[in-house]
């Protein structure tokens, strides 16, 4: 997984499945939600498939919620989450800072590929959302 710009990452088949973790800091509650995975065709930006994603508490990690983006080429992957390259997987995270309880409330999004180093994104107020694109080639 390679970062291209502030919101785009190049990914390859070997990067899947990709684990996503969202950790809250200086807040009483982790109030984060991920959109469904929306896959677009690079040529025209039209959505070709959508599949559900949901952040769930990660056992043993306080204040962390996570999910896994399935391998789009694996046979076991649900049909809606299977797509061939080239494709762009678009995600939007939504956050709340309603329970800010310390001096530096923030969220950290960790994008953890199966191979390679994780990518880390930080979201602070006034931002309440974050847009991420995986360019699968």
């Amino acid at each position: 997984m390679t970062k291209k710009d502030s919101f785009t990452y190049s990914v390859a088949a070997a990067d899947f499945p990709i684990a996503v973790e969202v950790e809250s800091f200086d807040q009483a509650n982790n109030m984060s939600v991920i959109s469904d995975g929306m896959v677009t065709r690079p040529a025209d930006g039209n959505i070709i498939t959508t599949f559900p994603l949901s952040l769930q508490p990660v056992p043993g990690k306080a204040n962390v919620q996570g999910c896994q983006i399935p391998d789009p080429s694996a046979a076991a992957t649900p049909a809606a989450a299977r797509y061939p390259p080239p494709a762009d997987l678009n995600l939007t995270f939504v956050f709340s800072f309603a329970t800010a309880n310390g001096p530096n409330p923030k969220y950290e999004i960790r994008l953890i590929p199966t191979a390679g180093a994780p990518q880390v994104r930080t979201v602070r107020q006034p931002n309440l959302r974050d847009f991420v694109v995986f360019e699968y080639r």
Binding site: D5, M31, V33, N90, S96, N101, P126, F131
Partner: protein
């Protein structure tokens, strides 16, 4: 608050007025370092631009800092900036330094240490952080108990103009123990769980519609980023001021925003849906915040107060060096905010008893008090936090002499009479760059003080430190 970009037609020219949030976001971008900090700042600029496209439907940020933590001494202390005590103690540890009294004749300088012993123990857990200190799952019952100790550092110096009183050198002034009877202002409360559930219900559709909008606008997002970064690079080696750089970057934002075809049905339909869902989410967000910050809190407190002066001999009834009897105070503090306003109310009810009945005293009961305040969390000061303005009133009925026995005069004034005391206080709590430190400044009018039956106007100032954050995991 994000405002609309206002398009004004004047003589056929379109003049753009940009929101203060976009300017703030661009200004932050100018100051951001390279790498992730710059990327984060670019994202803020983009989000601000999209918020404006959604007709300002985005961040109606309430000022979100706690205003319900007690750090200082009670109103009866010689050094206190508070007429009304807040309901909660720091989750682990807090300090306050205050000067100036609310109802006492003799002002002092107090240092108050507030501790939640179980909270301190929980803070030592591996991986514990400040955020965890008010969560459930660690000594939940014991963490409802807190203690505070107040020391009057000016003792031994005051009073200065008396022939019959002398200051005690013992600086211990007050000890208090308190118990949270009810606390809805934590994530474990049923009320907050319901608000969280409502927020989650709104968040998913908002995330999906914002995702569709971001997909639709992605070429403009990429163009904005590319042009902003190119412009930032062009500043290298120049001696342009930050204001000049901000103005040039705002021109870039304006240029890209002007290219977005908001009237195109393909874009406008997605934009309309996203704006509606985003507004619903923000309303749910505010409800969650208000539930968290404005729920019921009720705290019971017992305190022991040691007097700060002793007497020289007064006739035959008061031997030389007699210290007035200590005071026991029972206090009940209750708070509740308005769910749809940035306003929190606190009421204090208390009564005090002497621990000894001396000759001339009618009973042990000294006084009864009722006090209340309204606190407004004001608009955030960027990079500092939220100032809090409060208006408070206190009524005290002194059932008998304030020190428990007669003292003929103080500073040449007849003193020491039972009666009623009324106090009005206006207080502003200023934040600092580190939200753990706050500076309360207050002005107090009293129709009389405890020893002297004359009206009194005073200023008080302090500094309070909620040190919960020092327990945060350094890696965070």
């Amino acid at each position: 608050m994000r405002k609309l970009w206002i398009v004004a037609s004047l003589g056929g020219l379109g003049l753009w007025a940009q929101s203060s949030d976009t300017k703030a976001a661009v200004s932050a971008l100018v100051k951001a370092g390279a790498g992730n900090a710059r990327d984060e700042a670019v994202s803020t600029v983009w989000n601000s631009l999209v918020d404006e496209l959604m007709s300002g439907g985005a961040s109606q940020f309430l000022a979100r800092r706690r205003a319900d933590i007690r750090n200082g001494a009670s109103s009866g202390a010689a050094g206190s900036t508070s007429t009304v005590l807040n309901p909660l103690l720091p989750a682990a540890f807090g300090f306050a330094f205050e000067n100036g009294s609310a109802v006492r004749t003799v002002s002092g300088n107090t240092t108050t240490i507030s501790v939640n012993p179980a909270g301190l123990i929980c803070a030592t857990r591996v991986g514990a952080s400040a955020i965890g200190l008010r969560e459930e799952g660690c000594q939940d019952y014991l963490r409802r108990w807190g203690i505070s100790l107040t020391f009057d550092t000016s003792r031994g110096k005051n009073p200065t103009a008396t022939s019959t009183l002398k200051a005690l050198s013992d600086q211990f002034a007050e000890a208090a123990i308190r118990y949270e009877v009810v606390n809805q202002r934590k994530p474990g409360s049923a009320r907050f769980k319901q608000a969280l559930h409502d927020w989650t219900d709104k968040a998913k559709p908002a995330a999906n519609s914002m995702n569709r909008l971001d997909i639709k606008l992605r070429p403009f997002h990429a163009e904005l980023e590319s042009k902003l970064k190119a412009k930032l690079d062009s500043f290298q080696g120049t001696n342009k001021s930050d204001d000049q750089k901000t103005a040039e970057l705002l021109d870039v934002v304006r240029e890209v925003k002007g290219k977005i075809p908001v009237a195109d049905p393909d874009v406008s339909s997605v934009l309309t849906e996203a704006a509606a869902n985003w507004r619903d989410l923000l309303k749910a967000d505010d409800r969650a915040y208000n539930t968290f910050a404005h729920g019921w809190v009720a705290t019971a407190e017992y305190s022991l107060e040691r007097p700060d002066i002793a007497t020289d001999a007064v006739g035959a009834s008061v031997p030389q060096g007699t210290r007035p009897p200590s005071l026991h105070t029972a206090r009940f503090v209750v708070s509740r905010g308005l769910m749809n306003y940035n306003l929190d109310f606190t009421l204090n009810f208390s009564s005090s008893w002497f621990d000894q009945k001396r000759p001339g005293m009618t009973s042990l009961w000294r006084d009864a008090q009722v006090a209340g305040d309204a606190k407004w969390r004001l608009r955030d000061i960027p990079d500092f936090g939220t100032p809090i303005l409060s208006m408070a009133g206190l009524y005290m009925h002194l059932n008998q002499r304030p020190l428990g026995f007669a003292i003929p005069e103080f500073s040449g004034t007849k003193i020491n009479e039972p009666g009623n005391i009324g106090v009005f206080q206006a207080k502003l709590e200023l934040p600092t760059a580190n939200a753990a430190v706050r500076i309360p400044i207050s002005f107090t009018y009293a129709n009389r003080t405890d020893l002297i039956k004359e009206s009194d106007v005073r200023g008080q100032i302090g500094i309070s430190l909620n040190l919960d954050s020092v327990f945060a995991n350094p890696s965070k």
